[in-house]
Symmetry: C2
């Protein structure tokens, strides 16, 4: 059997550092995306109703979150729907997300 994957989708043998996850979350826009997705899956346009940034820029940030295994992407017809990653949802506690090393709370 393959080794289980950590929160960043890397072999759990390697240390998945807290710092690496924090780096991805240490950005206003990306943190806001995570907060928005706490309310459930959203399309990119829906996410951007709150953020109001360049769609291109948002896409780049979503890619970073995706690569960090923090969100999932699902094509829904002509729209694309993003959601918090299952591993995050499993550890979710109300409006807080438990990353193991770090528990984020949103107000």
């Amino acid at each position: 059997m393959k080794s289980s994957l950590g929160i960043l989708g890397q072999p759990s043998g390697e240390e998945v550092s807290c710092a690496r996850v924090l780096k991805v979350l240490a950005d206003e826009t990306r943190l806001a995306v995570v907060e928005i997705l706490l309310n459930g899956p959203k399309t990119v346009a829906e996410i951007n109703e709150t953020l109001g940034v360049e769609p291109t820029l948002l896409s780049h940030h979503l890619k970073a979150l995706r690569e960090a295994q923090l969100v999932t992407r699902e094509q829904r017809g002509r729209y694309v729907r993003y959601a918090l990653a299952p591993s995050l949802l499993a550890r979710r506690k109300g409006r807080a997300i438990d990353l193991g090393c770090c528990k984020l709370s949103f107000t």
Copy 2:
């Protein structure tokens, strides 16, 4: 009277974002320093017994933590002693540090 200072030493009028604090903590070395200081105040050399990095580099990281108001510096004879900032210690819970938006736990 001067306005009170937030966790990053900035006027509390301005929003002190979670992302800005996370940016400072999103670094292996700086995160390790915070973890080490959970065991109490230490001199730079003592901190570096664990880390083993270029003293100059450590000093730069300590400066970043200082400027983020996460640690305090105190001259002790020819040594310099660092400690977690009072605001952090006040919100400390065991081996976890509550930053408001984010609660860091160390194992």
